[in-house]
């Protein structure tokens, strides 16, 4: 399919702009005015956003994909991996999310990072991140996707450890990178297996070749498990989820952009991208389902007992990602993508609002030291509340629609699954409203009272938040549950060509629910949500002495001791092993062995030396006898 050269060049420019932004700001870090860098970076992303709209309009109206081959990256013998980009409907959607949210957060950062000395560095990293994220989204083969995959990991590393003077930040950054690397190993193995099986890494070719394979073959199992391992790392699923809460050490806009809206959802994108492969591998799909459910549950529970505003949001992100993976596991790719999109809006909004709070309180993140902020910073409060309502799935905000789409799939799958899914989504309400009430409603804490500098954030921060809030409110209307109207399914229609092949392979299973059940499954949770909100208000909005945590609560507050367990089982043994190998094996065994060989040669030499008595007569006798021996040997031969 020939794509128009105009669109091709646009898709190329899409990569070029952020790279230019990175180079321009990165190379002239010292020379560049601090106020300017944010504007430069934002304007490059803004240009990208415009290009994205054009591309989006193009692919959604013509149903064509734009393919651009830039150059051959690795090419010899029968391996050919070009540097090529593909814009289809799925990537166009991601482009919108990345560039749209990315642009808003860039603008927000201008205000947020105003007083930081490393602001130029910050914006260069941000642009670099956009660049790699776009590579990830646009790549036409898995290896190039892997470039973006690792690249965003790098940016995440750099940005989490942005304030590198504090080793706590650096440790968090390192942890993120290494945990991602563990997932990446799986990804690589998946790629190897893919190349081994199909002889190509091109995404669409792989899908075509795979679709004729029998369902559940071992090769596909290995490939999908590998890819999913990558997704686990990147999207912070169990067992590799502990890095994401730690990653909150970075500046808040980073948390919003990378660790909420875009990068962490790359795992979801990857699975959706490879929908054909995954559909053919039911074992992996079930694994995804299980892991998604557990992640969503556990991190939702942990979130309830956290006190750091960003950590709550981080665990919330993990939980929502788990929710998306659950949707993927159920085979609802467009549901997952829909939730990904809406989640990007309201989670980014929540983070930015949290950033605004932190900004107002001079880097205070503990919600116990907040309270009563509703009156001090009303705009932020309003925006935060919109976010909280949206994420809790209260109609008519966006979260309701995307969650409903997933829940209905879950109920179709089985009543038990539906109830689990509902429970997970209810957890959201609990921790979000706890956060909301403690931080904004509760009577002012001493810290807030003592702080007279609490101020509303500047407009440059509020406006992007307002735009996000608007999106969080209305974005859901593109896909309305079938219960209300069967016509408005813009979103799933838009994505249907992408997942057509996958859904073709496995016919939709599950029974259709009766209308009554559907209404019930819709209304009962809503009632519970209302009850929960009220209960939270009673419980948290009043100034009460926090009760002692009971046993199980303590476990949850301490994040199920996962970090400690990993430390005990992986980190410590590795360090011990390292020490053991270095001290014992290398020094005491191998090196000593070699030295012993050398020394024993010296020793033997020293002994043999004594044969040289210096007595010439003795030498002569030895010589003569040796000659005799040689001649004799010749004789008898």
């Amino acid at each position: 399919m020939e794509s128009s050269p105009f669109m091709q060049s646009i898709s190329f420019l899409l990569l070029l702009f952020p790279l230019l932004g990175f180079l321009a700001i990165g190379l002239f870090q010292k020379e560049l005015n601090k106020k300017l860098s944010g504007i430069i970076a934002s304007s490059f992303v803004f240009l990208n956003l415009i290009l994205t709209f054009i591309l989006f309009w193009y692919v959604s109206s013509t149903n064509q994909t734009v393919e651009t081959n830039l150059f051959d990256w690795i090419k010899f013998a029968n391996i050919s991996i070009p540097f090529a980009i593909t814009v289809d409907r799925l990537s166009a959607l991601m482009l919108l999310v990345v560039n749209g949210v990315g642009f808003l957060i860039h603008v927000y950062s201008i205000g947020y990072m105003k007083n930081d000395e490393g602001v130029n560095r910050f914006f260069s990293y941000m642009n670099l991140f956009i660049f790699f994220m776009l590579i990830l989204v646009l790549s036409s083969n898995y290896l190039m996707l892997f470039i973006g995959w690792e690249g965003v990991g790098l940016c995440s590393y750099l940005l989490i450890g942005f304030w590198y003077k504090d080793h706590a930040n650096n440790n968090a950054a390192k942890k993120a990178f290494i945990m991602n690397r563990i997932g990446d190993l799986g990804f690589l193995i998946g790629i190897f297996m893919m190349f081994h099986t199909f002889g190509t890494l091109n995404i669409s070719e792989v899908a075509t070749k795979a679709s004729v394979m029998p369902s559940g073959s071992t090769a596909l199992l290995v490939i999908t498990l590998g890819l999913f391992a990558g997704a686990i790392g990147k999207s912070a699923q169990i067992p590799l989820f502990t890095w994401l809460p730690d990653a909150m050490a970075g500046p808040t806009p980073v948390s919003a952009l990378i660790h909420a809206a875009t990068m962490v959802t790359a795992g979801v994108y990857l699975v959706a991208r490879s929908s054909v492969l995954f559909m053919l591998s039911p074992v992996t799909m079930n694994l995804i389902l299980v892991i998604g459910i557990f992640t969503a549950l556990i991190s939702g529970l942990i979130a309830i007992y956290q006190n750091d505003i960003k950590k709550i949001l981080a665990y919330s992100t993990v939980s929502q990602l788990g929710f998306m993976f659950m949707a993927l596991g159920l085979g609802s790719f467009s549901g997952a993508m829909f939730h990904l999109t809406t989640h990007a809006f309201f989670k980014a909004l929540l983070f930015l609002a949290a950033g605004s709070v932190i900004h107002a309180l001079n880097q205070e993140q503990d919600i116990r030291k907040m309270g009563g902020l509703r009156k001090k910073i009303p705009f932020t409060f309003a925006l935060f509340a919109i976010g909280a309502i949206a994420i809790s799935g209260i109609p008519p905000f966006a979260g309701f629609f995307s969650k409903e789409m997933i829940l209905s799939v879950a109920y179709e799958h089985g009543m038990g699954m539906g109830i689990i899914a509902t429970f997970i989504s209810l957890l959201t309400t609990v921790y979000m409203f706890r956060l909301l009430f403690v931080a904004f409603y509760k009577p002012e804490s001493d810290a807030v009272k003592a702080n007279h500098h609490i101020h509303e954030s500047p407009k440059v921060m509020l406006i992007p938040m307002a735009v996000l809030a608007l999106l969080a409110m209305v974005a859901g209307f593109v896909q309305i549950p079938a219960l209300f109207s069967t016509n408005i399914t813009v979103f799933s229609t838009y994505l249907s060509p992408i997942f057509f092949a996958a859904h073709q392979l496995v016919p939709a299973s599950g029974q259709n629910l009766t209308v009554l059940t559907e209404w019930l499954t819709l209304l009962i949770p809503l009632t519970i949500i209302a009850a929960l909100v009220y209960f939270s208000y009673i419980r948290f909005a009043k100034d009460r002495v926090p009760a002692e945590l009971s046993g199980i609560q303590k476990v949850m507050a301490n994040k199920f001791y996962v970090d400690e367990i990993y430390d005990f089982f992986f980190v410590k043994p590795t360090e011990k092993l390292s020490l053991f190998l270095r001290e014992t094996v290398d020094q005491s065994i191998i090196n000593r062995l070699i030295n012993t060989i050398g020394n024993s040669t010296l020793y033997i030499g020293g002994r043999i030396r004594l044969l040289q008595t210096g007595n010439v007569g003795f030498y002569l006798i030895i010589m003569v006898f040796s000659i005799i021996a040689i001649l004799f040997f010749n004789l008898i031969r």
Binding site: W73, I74, A77, I147, Y164, N170, I178, I182, I594
Partner: protein
């Protein structure tokens, strides 16, 4: 012509430098000579690229006088290493600091080293190969012994003996091969390649060659000279050792083991690949807790070259080509790494990681460069070592999946020790030793420029090298 220039120029430069008076003049002269060599080797590379499959020849027929025929041949594999040598030597020469007062002999020895290295890579005759192989030991021995640190003499002697023992086995293998060639016997590579060796002949040959190369590379468990020698040698010597000289062993694997012992490599891989693999993991794990930067680089290097050896012996085109590419990348990266080390040690006089910290805030330019080099070592995509490691692991995977997965663990471990090291050195608060850390000067920055260009050039457009190799890798 090109080969003759490549060999004679550094030799004469070296001889001339032995008569030099002041260090500074000698340095400039050596730098100039090595840059000219670099240009010449690039011309050679260009010639090979425009006509794929071509090779440069040079034949000095001394048959009538000494009964030997000096045969040189530079094909695509050789030119990569020749370019690597000529690229790195100017950097190494330029990296010497004024304050250290190197005598002209120092530069003369480096140039002599360059002669030997180019000779090794260009030789097409076993005896020549062997002579240059051994010749390369002489300058590095003196560099280490004379300008080295603590215990340098003792360690350099250990190094010398260790590697000579290895070469001894190679000599035996060479002579054995010589007797197998049809009369009139010949030492030329081509006559060796034409031999059809039986399996029972290949086994002793393989063992002898493998031992020689394993010591040189070095592979576990023959690595104990490496760390000590790196540590004792002056940083220029270490760069020569790690950047170029170790590649001689790997080059030997490509040149001799693969074409001559095909059957053994094909059948015996499952015996020795796990051993190499163990060394790879071993080096990486030790690097995690290594308190000295230089030793850390040594162990990291041990791990990296192990991966290259894995790729070369993986019986797969991907592995072999990836291995060759990775050899080039590793040479560049490790020299960059040692340069960073040198910059740190020059300013702080310590290489204990625990005594360093907070450099990034004082020297942002250095921090960026160091970060790029660290990332290249971590094999991040778009840096040079990613492509190589990817192809190596792919090759290994097509050969044996379990081994590839275990080998893949290194990409995690490398991230662990590299980032840990980088964090402790560059991040955090200033320490006493890093209080007055100044950022790189212009000259120092220029040293890194070619390295960084090489890192990204190979990372972004590796097809250049890969296609060059296409005709040669069988």
């Amino acid at each position: 012509m090109i080969i003759a220039l490549l060999l004679i120029l550094p030799l004469f430069a070296s001889l001339f430098l032995f008569t030099g008076k002041t260090g500074q003049q000698s340095k400039n002269f050596a730098l100039l000579a090595s840059l000219v060599l670099f240009a010449i080797s690039l011309i050679g590379g260009y010639e090979l690229i425009v006509t794929p499959g071509k090779a440069l020849f040079s034949n000095v027929d001394l048959e009538s006088i000494f009964g030997v025929n000096l045969m040189f041949k530079i094909d695509a594999i050789s030119i990569i290493f020749v370019i690597l040598t000529t690229l790195l030597v100017p950097i190494i020469i330029a990296s010497t600091d004024k304050k250290e007062h190197r005598t002209p002999h120092f530069y003369a020895l480096i140039m002599l080293m360059q002669t030997a290295l180019i000779g090794v890579f260009a030789a097409s005759d076993m005896i020549l190969f062997y002579i240059f192989w051994e010749l390369s030991l002489i300058p590095i021995f003196f560099i280490t012994a004379r300008w080295g640190g603590e215990n340098a003499r003792k360690i350099s002697i250990k190094f010398l003996i260790y590697t000579v023992v290895g070469s001894f086995f190679m000599l035996i293998a060479i002579l054995y091969l010589y007797t197998l060639t049809p009369t009139p016997h010949s030492f030329s590579f081509d006559s060796f390649y034409q031999l059809k060796l039986s399996y029972s002949q290949q086994i002793p040959l393989f063992l002898a060659f493998f031992l020689a190369f394993a010591i040189k590379i070095p592979l576990f468990p023959f690595h104990s000279w490496q760390v000590e020698t790196y540590n004792a040698s002056p940083v220029q010597g270490t760069m020569l050792l790690a950047g170029i000289m170790l590649k001689m062993g790997l080059y030997g694997i490509v040149r001799f083991l693969l074409p001559l012992c095909t059957d053994v490599v094909a059948n015996g891989s499952l015996i020795f690949l796990p051993l190499i693999l163990f060394g790879v993991i071993y080096g990486a794990v030790i690097a995690i807790s290594q308190p000295h930067l230089k030793k850390l680089i040594a162990f990291a290097s041990l791990s990296h070259v192990g991966i290259i050896a894995l790729g070369l012996l993986s019986n797969s085109r991907y592995g072999i080509e990836g291995g060759i590419l990775q050899m080039f990348s590793h040479g560049v990266n490790v020299v960059g790494f040692f340069l960073c080390y040198y910059m740190i040690v020059k300013r702080t006089k310590t290489d204990k990681i625990s005594e360093l910290g907070g450099i990034a805030s004082m020297a942002p330019r250095f921090a960026t460069i160091f970060m790029i080099i660290v990332l290249a070592n971590v094999a991040l995509p778009l840096t040079n070592s990613f492509v190589g490691e990817f192809l190596i692991l792919l090759g290994l995977f097509t050969y044996n999946k379990i081994l590839a997965i275990i080998a893949g663990l290194t990409i995690i471990l490398v991230a662990v020790y590299m980032l840990k090291m980088y964090q402790k050195i560059m991040y955090g608060e200033k320490k006493a030793s890093t209080e007055n850390f100044t950022d790189l000067t212009f000259n120092e920055t220029m040293l890194f420029v070619p390295i960084i260009i090489a890192i990204f050039a190979v990372g972004i457009y590796p097809s250049f090298v890969l296609q060059l190799l296409q005709g040669v890798v069988k």
